[in-house]
Structures are given as C-alpha cells and as structure tokens.
Amino acid sequence: MVSKTEEARVAVLENQVDNGGGGAWEYLCLVRKLKLRRSDKVLKHGLSILNDPGKRSSLGPEEWTLYEQVAIAAMDCQCLDVAKDCIKVLQKRFPGSKRVGKLEAMILEAKGSWAEAEKAYSSLLEDNPLDQVILKRTATMAKAQGNLSGAIELLNKYLEIYMADQDAWRELGEIYVSLQMYKQAAFCYEELILSQPTNPLYHLAYADVLYTLGGLENLQSAKKYYASATDLTGGKNTRALFGICLCTHAIGQLTKGRNKEDKDSSELQSLAATALEKDYKRIAPAKLSSLTSTLKSLNLSS
C-alpha cells in the first residue's frame, strides 16, 4: 500500500534526484520499500552510485542489494549488458547462491529465450521444489509468453500451498479479469478484501468486478462496495463516486416499474453526483459540461 504521504515523499525525492540533488540512495530505498516500478530511474541513479567506488563502499552490505535492484531494473529497461555485469559481480561474491541463480534465469527471460529460462528455473526448483520466488516466476513466464491459461494453472497450484500470499491472489485476479472470467476474479478480490479489509482499492476492484457481472443482486452489492470505498477514501476517489452513480442508474433500469419504495430511500447517488461536480469544478472546470451531460443522461443531475 502506498499512502498519500509516501507518494508525496517519493515525488519530492524523485524531483530532487532528477535535478542533480543528493538523496539517490534514499530514493532507491524508498522505491524498494514501496515496491514501485521506476526501472529507468533506478537504473540511472543506481548505476551512478555503483560506479562511484566511494559511495558504493559506504553502503556496506546493502551494496549487494543495490546490485540486485539495479540488475532487475536493467532487465526491465532491456539494458541486458548492465544486468549481466551486475549479476557477474554478485556471482563473484556469492558463488552458488540461488538468489543469483534466479537473476540469471530472469535475464534469460528478459532476453526472450523462454526454453532456456524454463530450464534454469526447473533446475533451481529441483533443489527446493517449494521456493516461492521461483514458483511465482514460472507463472509469470507463462504470462509473459501470452499463455494466460497456463499462468492461471501455475498460480492456482502455487496458491494451493501458499494460500495467504496476497500478491499472488492479486495477480490471479488481474489475469482473470483480463480473460473476462469475472466470477473467479470476484473470488480473488474477496480474498484480498479479507486480508486487508481497510484497503479501499480492493473494495473498488471488487465493486468493479461485481458491476461488470451485472444482475440486480450483484449491482446492489457493487454499489455497497463503491460506498465503502468512498467511505474509506473520505470521498476522494472519483472512480468510486462514478461507480455509485452508474450502479444506481443500472439498478433503476432493472427495477423500473417494480418496487419504487427503496429507490428513494437513500440520497447517496445525488450526493455522489454533487461531490463529483464539485471536484470537477475545482480540478478540471473545462470538463464540467461533459460531466453534467453524462450525469443528466443517468437521471442524476440535480
């Protein structure tokens, strides 16, 4: 989870580092801690530290972590030579380490030589068939090759054992959504909500899936989850506000002519619409007209 303060801190540090100010190491640590994917910046600033012997040796044992971070970032940027050099350094320091072995397999993956990478991973798995990182990588590799059903199968096998791994549930949910298997995706998001009930983004994703599934019951649940996302974000999440409006509209369409009594029971949607209008007025006044016309088409504009 990346909170507002952390986001602001990253932005400040990034600005500072990009403009030649110090704090590169601090920035890299923060990126690592928050698990952000800023590969180009990590590569640039990480290399600037690694190429400076004074700075590098002042890191102490953290130096090797930085080598790993830079190697992965380099793979992400397709700078395979840099990645290879980093891995060579690590290999010299930690001969026979599995973590380096994983990096070597990853570079094969980045190169696109899938068969070799697969071989490397399976030889790593021979030593320890339950290695979490390697198992995840094999699933990822299937996904990278476009073999989504294979990735799902591998992930399911992985989750059979490591069933408390949130990241894997999230990945599985995303794959399911991309394959339009919404029922399965809903299960994954329920699992995520269970593990972190106060994270509004999981509520939001679950609501999205429910809304897409459709049907009166699902729409009503979706509206509730959009409402909880709104509550947990203090009404600052535009997507949740739109979700409330759309759900109300869809429910209205479905129950048209039937029971009218619970339609007027809450004024949530009109409040959401007003909040949206207010946000647009403040942040993007130019787009206000299209918002009002949209809301009008949803019979919500006041």
Binding site: K44, L47, Q78, D167
Partner: protein
Amino acid sequence: MGPGFVAGVLGVLILSHAAYSTIQYRSLLKITEEEFSGPPINVVVELLLGLVFCIWAALTVPGQFRSILPHSEENRVVSLPANLDFMIFNHRGKAFPLDVDLKLK
C-alpha cells in the same frame, strides 16, 4: 532543543532530586528510629511536578502524532505497489530502448 526538551531535562532533574531527598529522609528516619509511612509532602509535590514535565516532554519531543484512521488525508491509500514478483519484461518498453548508454564500470 525546543522548550519540550528543556522541560524533559528539568523533569528528570526534579525526579532525581525527589529520589535523593527520599533517600535522605529515610536515612534520617533510620537515625531517629521512626517508621517510614510515606515521603514528605514537598517531595510528593516535587514528584507530581516532575511527572507533568516528563509527560509533556514525552508527548512533544519525539515527533508529531500521526493519524491512525485509514481515511485520514495522510494515510489514504492512493495506489497499490507494483506487483514486482510478477514483473514481466516482455512489454512495449522493449521497443523504446533507453538512448543513453549506461555501463557498469
């Protein structure tokens, strides 16, 4: 080194003085062979004063209080971390290699 820190130092000093006077008082009682029932009233006042100072220092010096509410402005979750364990390299970044040549020396 704000006023809170000074208050903390003062509070600790007062507390140690109270402790010292209590020890003195007890040795006095030992000489006069009386029972110790409690510290004298001025030591108690001193103790309370020291306590107040210490509490004040402890509440102000270490840092600002942060909100524990999930929807408070600074705790609000704005994004999820990139799922780095499942990072794939087969993406469109491949078509746009970085133009700067970086090298590990």
